[in-house]
Symmetry: C2
Subunit: 491 residues, 2 copies
C-alpha cells in the first residue's frame, strides 16, 4: 500500500478540489438565477424520491456530472425554495454570498474547535465576533467579554435553551442541595413562546407539568403580562414548588409580539429566577437605533439569544447566546477528560467552548458571522432590515386599504398577520385556510399560518434575501385574485 | 424604498456570488497546496487575535480581498491544521472534495427541513442515505426504514446521546408512572466510554451519581466486562434503583478498544435496558467485510451511532443515528405547534425530523453524505479505510522493532498507542509527556495522549485525508530523533 497505489485515490487533491468546487458554484449560481421559475412550495408527493434513487449505495465512484444531474432532476423538485424571493413562510432563513463564503472557509479548514488549543483562532474569533454582535445590539457590557460576561455560537435556539436551562437547573439544584428537587423546578413562558422552550425544559428533566404557559390575548398584542407571571409564581411557591426560569420573547413566532422585557425582568429579579430573552427572529432588527428600544430592560436578563441565520444574512446555522455569568454554563456543561488536557486549559487563561454547549465537536461558525458583518458593514445590515420593514409596511397598507381584509394583529418588524374579514366569524378560519392553500398551491408564493385567540391568521413574513418590492406587490395581487375567487364561490 | 434603491445592495446577486465564491475556492485550494508548510499545532499565545482585530464591527462594507488578507494573516496562524497530513491527534476529521461539494449544496439551497413539507427532498434524501449507510454497515433491517427502524443525521454523538437517553428516560418514566422516578434511573458505561455520555446523561436530568463507570484494565484490552456490568446492575436493583441505559463502544477514544457487543447485548436484554452502541470513530471501518465482525451483536442494540465526519471523508458535522423503534424518539421529542401544522404531517405518512432531534431548525446534511458516498463509491471508501489501517500497521511495526519503545495497547483500526519504555516505571509518564511536547512543538507533526491503567500513552491516530505513507515515515523519524535527544539528556 505504497504512495504509488495511493495516487489512484486522492479525495482532497487541490486541483480537482478547485475544478469540481467551481462546477458546483456555477450550479448554485444558476439555481439562484432561475429560482423564481420553481413553484415555491414543493409539489412532490410523500415517497417521491425513493422511486427515483437506487435503494443502496453504488460500489464504484460516480461522476460529479451524474450527481449534479440528479440534484437537478430529483432534488430541486423536492425543495421548498426558502431562498425564493416569493417565500414568505415561517420566518425567513437569509442566505447571502458573504454567509456562503464564511461557510466555505469553515468547511474548507474543517477544524474541530472544541477547546482553545485545538484551534485557537476558532475560539478567539468567536469571542471577538460575539462582542462585535453584542455591541451592534448595544447589549450592556455585562454580556460581553470586554465586560464581565460572554457569548457563544450555537446551532439553534433550542440548543441555547437546553444549555441555559441546564445552567439554571444546576445552579438551583446546588442551592437546594439535592438532585431530587429537580421535580420542583418550574419554568415560565407565554402561550406565544416558541415551543422549543417546552421541549428544552423537558429535555433537561423538568417535569412537563411544571411548564407554565401564561395566557395572552389580543388586548396586549399577545404579549405576556408581568402581573400574571408574578401571580403564577406566587401560586407555585405556595404549592412548595421552586420557580426557576422565565423566558420572554422579542418577536414571537405566531405574530411577532414583544414581551415587556423591563417589567418581566423586575419580576424575575424579585423571585430570583433565571431570566432569558429569546430574540431569535427580531434580535437582528435591534441593530437599528429606532428599533433598539425593544431591547430596553435587557440589562435585567441573565441570558439572551438571537439567530443571525434568520434575518441577518447568515446561512444556516448560527445562533448567538450571551450570558452574564458564563461560570454557570461552564459548571453545568464542563468535562475534563484526560484526553483533552493541555497547558492552555489548565492555565484557565483561555475559553474551551466545549463547556458552553451540548456537543464536544464544533464547527468554526464564527468565520461565517465575521465575514457577514465585515462584508456588509453595519450600514448595509441596517439597510437590509429597514428595507424589509419598509416592504412589510407597504404590504400592511395594501391590506388595510382593501375592505375585504383586515390586519389581525398590529405589525411589529416585518411580519404581517392578516386575514379575509369573514361575514360570519364562524366561517373565518376555514375561509382563510382555503385562501392560504390556494396561494401556496399556485406555486407563485408561499406563506404559513398561525392561530391566535382562536383566529386563523395568514402570516406574511417579509425578509428573504432576494425579495424586492415587486415580489411583495405581486404577492398582494395574487392574494386579491385568490380571495376574489373564493368569495365568488361563496356567493 | 423602491427597487431602484434596493439595487445598491444585493447580497445574493448570482454573478457576484459566482465570482466571490470562486475567489474563496482558489484561496482554500491554495491553502491545501501549502498546508504542510504550517506548524501543525498553532503556536499563538492566548489573546493573540484581539491584538490583531478591531474590537467592534465596521460601519462600512469591506472588500473580500481585505477579509481574505486577514484570514491569511490573522486566522491561519491560529489554526491547528486538522487537514494537515501531519495531523495525528485526537481522531481525524476527514475533509474531502466530495464532502465540501455536498456542504456547498446544503449551504447554497439553505433550506430548513424541520418537517417534511418544509422541503420534502431534505427529509426523503436523509431517510434514503441513512438506509444506504446502514446497508454499507450491514446493519440488520430492524434499524432501516426498509425494515422496521430508521435513522437520522445529527451534528454530534452528544446530540445522539441526549436524544436516545431522553427517549429511554421517557419510556421508563411512562412505565414507572411518575416523573419523580427520574432520580432512580441509572446509566452504565465504562471508564473508557466517551465522556459525552456522562454529559448527556446529566443534561437529560439523570443524577450524576447514577452514572456507573465500569472499570476496565489492560488484561481485556480496556474493554468492558459484561459480568461486571451485570453485577453492577444487580447491586443497583437491590438498592431500589432502575437500570436504564447501557452504552458500549466500538473504538474507544483513548485506545480504540472494542466492547463485547454480543455479550453486553445479552445483559441489556436480560435487564430490559436500552442498549446503545457508540461507533463514532470505528463505525466507518465496518464497511470493510474483514472488519464487520466488530459489529456482531448489533442486532441486540436499541440504537447505534457513528460519525462520518471522523473517518468517512465527510466534512463536519455529520453523525448517523439509527434506532430500532423510532416511536420512542418521537414520543420524547415531538411537538405539534399550530404554526407547523400541515396535511402531510397529519396524514402520518411522512417523517418530520424535528421530532428525531433536539432543535427545530436543521440543515440539509444528507446531501453531503450522499455526495460523499456516490462520488467515492464503496470501493474507494473501503480503500480509504484499508489504506489508513495499513499505514497504522506499518507504524506499529516501526515501534515494535525499536527496543526503546513499546506498544502499550494492541492496535485496533488505525490508532497506535505507544510510548518510550521507561527504565523505571515511575519516570515513564513524565518522559513520554516530554516526548509528545517535543514532537508537537516542532510543528512538524501533531499527536495527543491518553492515560490508561495509569500509563501515559502517545496516541498516533492515522487517517487524515491527505496523509500518505511518507508522512507516517517522517513522523517515525521525528519521534526517534526527539526520543534520542530526550534519552541523551537523561544520561
Amino acid at each position: 500500500m505504497g504512495s504509488a497505489s495511493r495516487k489512484t485515490f486522492l479525495p482532497l487533491e487541490p486541483m480537482s478540489f478547485k475544478n469540481e468546487s467551481k462546477e458546483v458554484i456555477d450550479f448554485i449560481s444558476d439555481y439562484y438565477q432561475k429560482i423564481e421559475e420553481f413553484p415555491v412550495q414543493s409539489r412532490v408527493e410523500p415517497g417521491y424520491l425513493s422511486a427515483k434513487l437506487p435503494d443502496s449505495a453504488p460500489y464504484c465512484p460516480e461522476s460529479l456530472q451524474d450527481i449534479l444531474k440528479d440534484v437537478n432532476d430529483c432534488i430541486l423538485p423536492g425543495l421548498t425554495h426558502w431562498q425564493s424571493p416569493n417565500f414568505f413562510g415561517y420566518f425567513q432563513a437569509n442566505a447571502s454570498t458573504a454567509g456562503f463564503l464564511g461557510e466555505m472557509l469553515c468547511s474548507g479548514f474543517n477544524v474541530v474547535g472544541f477547546n482553545w488549543i485545538s484551534s485557537p483562532a476558532a475560539t478567539e474569533l468567536e469571542s471577538i465576533v460575539l462582542d462585535w454582535m453584542g455591541k451592534l445590539l448595544k447589549l450592556p457590557s455585562s454580556f460581553l467579554f470586554s465586560g464581565t460576561g460572554g457569548g457563544v455560537l450555537h446551532g439553534s435556539t433550542c440548543e441555547a435553551a437546553v444549555c441555559t436551562l441546564a445552567a439554571a437547573r444546576d445552579k438551583a439544584l446546588k442551592k437546594l442541595n439535592g438532585w431530587e428537587n429537580i421535580t420542583k423546578l418550574v419554568v415560565y413562558a407565554s402561550d406565544q413562546t416558541h415551543f422549543t422552550f417546552q421541549k428544552a425544559a423537558k429535555l433537561v428533566g423538568i417535569p412537563p407539568s411544571n411548564f407554565r404557559l401564561i395566557e395572552t390575548n389580543s388586548s396586549t398584542g399577545f404579549s405576556m403580562s408581568p402581573q400574571q407571571v408574578a401571580l403564577t409564581i406566587e401560586n407555585d411557591i405556595k404549592s412548595g414548588l421552586v420557580p426557576l426560569f422565565l423566558v420572554a420573547t422579542i418577536g414571537t413566532t405566531p405574530t411577532g409580539a414583544v414581551d415587556p422585557i423591563g417589567e418581566l425582568g423586575k419580576v424575575a429579579k424579585k423571585y430570583d429566577i433565571w431570566f432569558h430573552i429569546d430574540a431569535a427572529y427580531a434580535g437582528s432588527a435591534c441593530i437599528c437605533p429606532e428599533l433598539r428600544p425593544y431591547l430596553d430592560g435587557v440589562e435585567l436578563a441573565n441570558s439572551i439569544s438571537m439567530n443571525p441565520h434568520k434575518w441577518f444574512l447568515t446561512n444556516m446555522d448560527c445562533c448567538c447566546l450571551w450570558i452574564k455569568e458564563p461560570k454557570f454554563l461552564v459548571e453545568s456543561l464542563s468535562s475534563d477528560p484526560e484526553i483533552l488536557r493541555n497547558n492552555a486549559s489548565e492555565s484557565k487563561s483561555v475559553i474551551d467552548y466545549k463547556d458552553w454547549q451540548i456537543a464536544l465537536s464544533r464547527r468554526f461558525r464564527a468565520l461565517k458571522l465575521w465575514v457577514v458583518i465585515r462584508r456588509h458593514g453595519l450600514a448595509n445590515l441596517m439597510y437590509h432590515i429597514r428595507s424589509d420593514i419598509s416592504m412589510a409596511k407597504r404590504f400592511e397598507e395594501f391590506v388595510a386599504k382593501d375592505e375585504r381584509f383586515e390586519i389581525v394583529v398590529p405589525r411589529n418588524f416585518a411580519l404581517v398577520c392578516f386575514r379575509i374579514k369573514p361575514k360570519e366569524e364562524i366561517e373565518g378560519n376555514e375561509l382563510n385556510r382555503k385562501l392560504l392553500e390556494a396561494i401556496n398551491s399556485s406555486g407563485k408564493a408561499f406563506m404559513t399560518h398561525a392561530i391566535v385567540g382562536g383566529i386563523y391568521v395568514i402570516r406574511c413574513a417579509i425578509g428573504t434575501t432576494l425579495t424586492e418590492q415587486r415580489h411583495v406587490d405581486d404577492l398582494w395581487k395574487l392574494i386579491q385574485e385568490k380571495a376574489q375567487s373564493l368569495l365568488m364561490e361563496k356567493i
